[in-house]
Amino acid sequence: MPDADVIIVGGGLSGLSAAYKLASIGRNVILFERGEYPGSKNVTGGRMYLHAIKKLLNIPVEQMPFERFVTREVVTIMDEFRSFSIELNSYEKGKYQSATVLRAIFDKWFASLAEEKGASIITKTKVDDLYLEDGKVKGVIVANEKITSNIVLVSEGVNSFLPLKLGLRKEFEANYLVTSAKAVIELGEEEIDKRFNLKKGQGMAQIFVGMTKGVTGGGFLYTNRETISIGVVCLLESLVKNKTSIADIFEDFIYHPVLEKILEGGRMLEYSGHLIPVKGYSMIPKLVYDGLLISGDAAGFFLENGPIFRGMDFAIESGSLAAEAIEKALKEGDYSEKKLSIYLDLLNNSFVLKDLKRYKNVPKVMQNERLYKLYPSIINEIFYDFFTVDGTTKPSLISYLKNKTFKHINPIVILKDIVQFLLYS
């Protein structure tokens, strides 16, 4: 007899979703988490789109430990001295799509729910390797000891070391990954309501471009209940190419004049960092193997589409679909790759693979360096000049573009970028 029906590697949202679901139907589940507690190694921007967690848990979202429900979306395009913003406010009551979240708090809570259902969550324990018998996965190795199970679910997050060792994915290239630097800054609940024009419980999500010194990437600001999450994300490859440190980009960003009044008087509570898998559909590994499945970030399930960042809803949904597939395999006592491939069917029929396929060319659009410096400065210049009244008479728009904008860039290139954007986004 194996030690458990299922072993889960990693107590992030994906592993916890699977543990919750399997334990709820009475399966014997052991989840290993290397951190002090679930959530202690996990960082997000961020805001969670709520559809997946709503489906999984039978609890009103208002009772989950979210920070604020997002009602205000802002995109800010910056250059060194200026900023230009687009903003969407939604005043419809009770119709929230997403909520801001702090993962050390949320994941800990989620883990306690899974434990209530009967899952064994073993923290401070790192899985060092998979345990194989006759080429089939039969468990894991922890501190030189083998612990066996019928099926292992790998939900170990973005670094995805175990699938690499087993040959299920290729090595990452430096343009597959974005790294981040983030701080949580305390401002107080009322102060946040005031500074961001929010009602109690409502939140804002703001994305910034043009503040990364030409590095492919951007900034974010999410309002939590009493704090804000603020940070930058940058493509590894582009940081190295531009010889610019993410730590310095972060520092210059939070002291940019655009943020001066917003952050004034705030008290920084924590500084953090984490990777994000951004290559989309083309970086997905082989997802099933004899006795093994992969879910969440470990499977490369992340989608970036302009200001929209989605990893958490993918992590939750793929974790619960993995649990469904695992339950079917356990019922039939067949843990082969062939049987476990029901997971692929489930993923293909869900938004997880549908969306990742639909947006598979978006990384190409997003990795265009012109988006991060040239276009932000052009946009700011155009709007600045548009709003300028200084007693001189302005030229016609066309001669303005000809004499100013097209000096920075050939209009054909702009046209090409627009076409690419329309085709791929």
Binding site: R34, G35, E36, G39, S40, K41, N42, V43, L102, R103, A104, I105, T123, K124, T125, K126, V142, A143, N159, F161, E171, F172, E173, A174, Y176, L177, T179, S180, A181, V184, E186, L187, G188, E190, E191, S229, L236, E237, L239, V240, N242, K243, T244, S245, I246, A247, F250, I254, L263, G265, G266, R267, M268, L269, E270, Y271, S272, G273, H274, L275
Partner: protein
């Protein structure tokens, strides 16, 4: 309204002081400086949010206790540098402990 502290220019060291760690006395990072000597890009210097790696007298030094465990350095070093870094997660229970995340 309760009084709020100041956010005046916080250095990286001060930022790091805000984050909790349970540091192992053994390092989870190793660097082979023979490889670094021949490395043209020094990729490790740019991708780490806490600047764990730094260059002094032509040698790469590192402060493993400041590691936030992103794992970005391995990919940057192995794909764009000269493969000087060996890196694994700290032992279970060790390393960074995010309170907010």
């Amino acid at each position: 309204m309760k009084s709020l502290g100041s956010i005046k220019r916080i250095s990286l060291d001060e930022r790091l002081g805000l984050t909790s760690f349970n540091s192992d006395n053994e390092s989870h990072i190793e660097v082979d400086n023979e490889r670094c000597l021949l490395c043209k890009t020094k990729a490790c210097l740019y991708v780490c949010p806490t600047k764990v790696y730094y260059l002094k007298d032509n040698k790469i030094y590192f402060n493993y206790q400041a590691c936030l465990e992103t794992g970005g350095c391995i990919v940057a070093c192995h794909k764009l540098g000269n493969k000087g870094i060996t890196w694994k997660y700290p032992k279970g229970g060790f390393g960074v402990i995010f309170k907010y995340g």
